[in-house]
Subunit: 436 residues, 4 copies
């Protein structure tokens, strides 16, 4: 357990004044906030793909990061070394959860049967390492977008053979997620969309995706997997247009195909902003629909039009996210997964620690800011006052379903012009700054 990151010791909480960049200044897992330990509020997870498989390449250049755990010329040995490195990292960082795609942990072989054997072997190792370390699996997922066979989609592919292939892959990935005690299973439809409408039958593709998700529910029940199913919205990239555009579009899909009881949403910050919503908007919308499941905690660059998947370091974002998550009841099966990658220039292994520490401290501080917001109560009080008209009198009558257009017209004619309140946005923004 000290093989791949020998230069780094276990990251400790040292308080706000710490100058050690390899310490936490805010994340103190056992500290109780709003009646619960920080670790239990935040349920941090490290993602396998960016953190251990990503090497800094981008569309304009190759890898920049040189790692000691992927040097073996034998693919399965490299996979095992990488997994040992991952659990060493999880442990030193002090997170309780991890997440993976099937293809992250085991390299694809020449055929599906052989690939699945490799997956089984790596899942066994993961299970052992989970046992050794106490780590838990937040969720598993399938990569049905990187291989060229999925160039035109997985469940929405024009070819039923590819649909079948994707089904086989989800089946297996769901089974090993179950085996590893995963709290959930995520669907991100990386190529479920289109590049041009000129070659696309949208209705047929949506119907196929609806059938696929229903089959997934059936299989989940068949194998007794009791984790949650999550769908992760993203509006575009890699395709020009993805069907799971945003939380609202996912809700339309889930309702149409009778899936609302079987799915929740996994909201990613960067996908929210790519869809022209704030991160908090997507969280609030999911919560308003009882569908807030889990979170991919990262950030985009608001001036860039692609998924930069940066580590979350903005305190406004983390504070408002935690404020919404806590008011929605907090996480049950979900958590905060860092679907985030090092910048191409952050080439050292220690940058992986710096980045996760920055993100964890940002959310720990976000949690404490949310605690202040809740304890102080000014925002809630302002909201209560603003909507007070609905709690009695005319408002209560409307909400109870007793009004119709005729009654309301009569009311208006009798009562005349409504009184108006200031929205107080600037004052509220100043109050928010007071908590930071």
């Amino acid at each position: 357990m000290n093989q791949f990151f020998p230069e780094v010791k276990k990251i400790e909480y040292r308080g706000p004044e710490s100058k050690d960049p390899l310490s936490f200044r805010h994340y103190n897992p056992e500290e109780v906030v709003l009646g619960k330990k920080m670790a239990d509020h935040l349920r941090f997870a490290v993602c396998y793909w960016h953190t251990f498989k990503g090497l800094g390449d981008d569309p304009f250049g190759g890898p920049t990061m040189i790692r000691n755990y992927n040097q073996s010329s034998e693919p399965m040995q490299a996979a095992k070394d990488t997994m040992h490195a991952a659990f060493e990292f999880f442990t030193k960082l002090g997170v309780n959860f991890w997440c993976f795609h099937d293809r992250d942990i085991a390299p694809e072989a020449d055929n599906l049967a052989e690939t699945n054997k490799r997956l089984d072997e790596m899942a066994s190792l993961a299970k052992k390492l989970q046992g050794d370390t106490g780590l838990r699996l937040l969720w598993g997922t399938t990569n049905a977008f990187s291989h060229r066979r999925f160039l035109a989609g997985a469940s929405t592919n024009p070819s039923p053979e590819v649909f079948a292939y994707a089904a086989s892959q989800v089946k297996k990935a769901m089974e090993i997620t179950h085996e590893l005690g995963g709290q959930g299973y995520v669907f991100w439809g990386g190529r479920e969309g289109y590049d041009t409408l000129l070659n696309t039958d949208m209705k047929r593709e949506l119907d196929h995706m609806g059938m696929f998700m229903n089959m997934a529910v059936d299989h989940k029940k068949k194998i007794g997997f009791e984790g949650d199913l999550f769908i992760e919205p993203k509006p575009k990239e890699p395709t020009k247009h993805q069907y799971d555009f945003d939380a609202g579009n996912c809700m339309a899909f889930l309702q149409k195909y009778n899936l609302t009881n079987e799915f929740k949403l996994n909201i990613e910050a960067n996908h929210a902003t790519l869809a022209a919503h704030t991160f908090q908007h997507e969280l609030e919308y999911a919560a308003a629909n009882g569908m807030l499941g889990s979170v991919d905690a990262n950030r985009g660059d608001m001036l860039l039009g692609w998924d930069t998947d940066q580590f979350p370091t903005n305190l406004y974002d983390s504070a408002l996210a935690m404020y919404t998550i806590i008011r929605a009841g907090g996480f049950t099966s979900g958590g905060l997964n860092f679907d985030a990658k090092l910048r191409r220039q952050s080439i050292d292994p220690v940058d992986l620690f710096y980045a996760h520490i920055a993100a964890m401290d940002c959310f720990a501080r976000g949690l404490k800011i949310a605690e202040k917001m809740i304890n102080d109560g000014s925002l809630a009080e302002n909201l209560k006052k603003r909507y007070a008209g609905w709690d009695a009198g005319l408002g209560a009558e409307i909400e109870s379903g007793k009004a119709d257009f005729e009654k309301l017209e009569q009311y208006t004619i009798e009562n005349g012009e409504p009184e108006l309140q200031s929205g107080r946005q600037e004052m509220l923004e100043n109050i928010l700054n007071g908590y930071i």
Copy 2:
């Protein structure tokens, strides 16, 4: 009928070689295309708000357009003059439909009862002029966003009094729409959204909007109005975030509040692009869900982030829109409403004609291009071939509901790697250019 635009005669079709800017080169209403008259395919409507009430002002400057029909210092006289000008314009332009908001045709008075009387008076005049000219009403709507009382929304207002006011207004507007034989009634929620989440209870607001729309359905039935109800998506502007973000978000809302049988969508081109969708995407999505009702035919500037509401003059847009509309069965109650305004610099009354002629010729040509696309059949053939796998064998079995993950895994293990087809996007784009 020659009072307000004396310098312009009835616009005639003169064929593609015409150099007269006050003639149609492509729109020939009686010409039969794909078995139906052009006028019946296109069902052009002129909107009252931009065309007769808009005067070129913008956030950085006042009106630029001086008109002869709004000079009276007596508001109702100005309203009547404007309506006469409108019907003169409709007639000279040769459209069959018009659209209006309640507040476009009659100025608001000191109280609702008086305002409603004015509306009745103007509706009577409109009815007479419809009779005189043969014009028909495509749809009516309510302006519940311009008056300061709606600064925080109409049905989503924190104040139930404003909800009641909006209900009264919709009630009346729906009644005069019915009286005028409107084919439909549109809801565009101009301020149904929020400016900051800091002062917003999203769930409560959405529930109120759901109740409001259900009351509207009830009232429609009560008065026997048989036109269609349309909801018009727009993602933002004037508010930071509007609940009817796009077609998908509207579908989520309509399903949640049991309204899918009572509503269709009114797709606006510029609202589609503000929501980061193509115009054609929103049309296809609506069609795929059986919800394509009507169209606000305009265009945005793809490099500007606000609703420019320009006249539609892009042949790709009009061709692809008509291709989708026709394949979806064509318009029934809906049509192509020019929700478009003159550029601030286009100050002459004759510019209103130039702009509408440009737009109508653009859609007439779009229709003829769509005719070529359909008659030639290359695109449809390519699509059929691309999805052929679903018409028999494995694909048919999946579509019939007989497959599950286990069967599909077995199939994949037995059959190995799927064959892949080129998406042929570049060739298809060249084929499309061949029709233009």
Copy 3:
């Protein structure tokens, strides 16, 4: 001096724990930071246009704000009442500077001569009130974009008569700015651009703008005005494309027309982001070119595509801006002008105070964060280390101008592959959070 905002007393500094929304928690004008009083660092200015002339209207609705100082039916009386209200507001808020457009302070009359008389009368009143209160003018400017005569531009108008009109207006505005002891004079080319290239001769328009600016320099010298001239970049809105797109485009223009010695830049935060730059980028770019003059301190909404001109309340923005401004030497003639407007829903006069307090506290705190950044020195040290190669050896040789391609090739062949450093972005972002 207690006529128009009787409900508000002088805003006092009460420290970070104050719960009084009508107090400062951070802005303490006499407090010394980095060797200078906060007031002298920040040089806050209130703008006349949004704060006293803006009433909450937007493209979708009329005014929402009812004020007691613009009720007179006599335009000059309303102008005078407004100016008294303005100086009462400045004084109670405790800013030292204000800014105005010519047309903000005096209503236009039937002809230019009469308009100029009105301007003189209002300038006299302003001069008196400046004397009474100690307020100073940060800068004056001309509104050559609101009146319909400027629909196609001012100095870039296709009509030389409009060019002449704009020249007359700038002449007068510059003269009263001089009379009022203005520290500077701003050019924001509200309609200096185009709506469509189909009707635009870009080269000719740019040449005209170059001539115009040179005439302005000549006139400045003629009247002995010693303030600075500033040009304010903005990429678009109201026009589709504005020539002063961003700081870089302004630099290209100023160099081409030999104006770099006569102008500096007035950087607006919201204009920076509309041009797809960060606020800090535009400040750094201006500083790198020795052109950082003054700042319009506001913010946009990163998900909206128009100039929202919100009050600045983001601590990252204010901290990074102050960090750049201080490292560039701080303001001389310039300052922080709140080119910001109340949200449409913030309808009460007291919201003007809330908004300015929020903004001033945000920048006061930004200043103190910048102080920590500078005093701690981690960021500067990191930068020094990163570029250390240029301070000696090969780097110094290159910077001294002694290298050429041949020498550098020889060096490379002899020395082989360069060593690489991590960019450390995530660690640096965490360090920044440590200052907030």
Copy 4:
């Protein structure tokens, strides 16, 4: 010459009615348009990087395209096969020009000396194949962005060793470009910018880039290369912010470092739109400054925020581009280089032909549309009329430099309110449609 694309014959012009997707419907190289052969107007070039080295991978997946010319396990053999394939493709397609980066044609070796030898060997082969086929080199360039050594920039790198490496590489690439008779040499600063200002000294980096470009000019003169130097603007991607943001920012840079006489611009359509300009805007701006050098003819997706580098198939874009290019005098050393890549799903070799045919026909048709625009003259006439005021009287006086603010104020007081003209945008858009 029939080895790598055996299924495709020489592409012939067959006229607008051709249904053969492997024929030109509009590009007829010998046909004379506006007094010059189409081939000489358009000067089409195929780019080596996307067309022969690109294989369909994207950030979410690996290659999709399987080619027969890159199968050799010996890198130099694969390079030679690829070059033979390239010249077979050029010849069959019928273009006269090609473009390349140094690293496209020869794989990097273990050290620079060895790499340069490989480059020499491949340049010899290219020279021979140019001789055999009559192909010419439009321009060469350096790839100083893909290798990890350039992760923090080339000439703007914090390390002078990397600056030196980049210099060595440009030196060599310029020399082989010269050897191959290149018409020009392009600088695209793929990583000349920054990812975060927290670790960036912008001023120092810009000064280094200025020195670098001056050294390049010196070297050009030293070796007697008489082609043009081009700088290619791009606002972002791969970096967050690139210094060559757009044509205006490049002009600012070139003026500051005294390079305007030595450089022209290479305008890429997709880079224009990423910078929030239209393609035509950047062309017009370059032309207005006498800097229009060459064109990367592609297109972006206006709803996507990354460089999609699609093949140009929009007739409005090609028509307006050719209209501007021809009015600016046409190409001299430059041409239309297809910096465009196949969509990931277009996996067949024949798709390379379909795509280039689509693009060439699009520009051929754009040229013919521009011919109509010029011959008809309506647009030019409208422009002349719009600016007529500047050709005599007051306008001419101003343009001649005889006016100042005092004279213009006097003129305005004497002459009163200017007359205004309609901008006629909608009519002009309709006229444009008439040419398509």
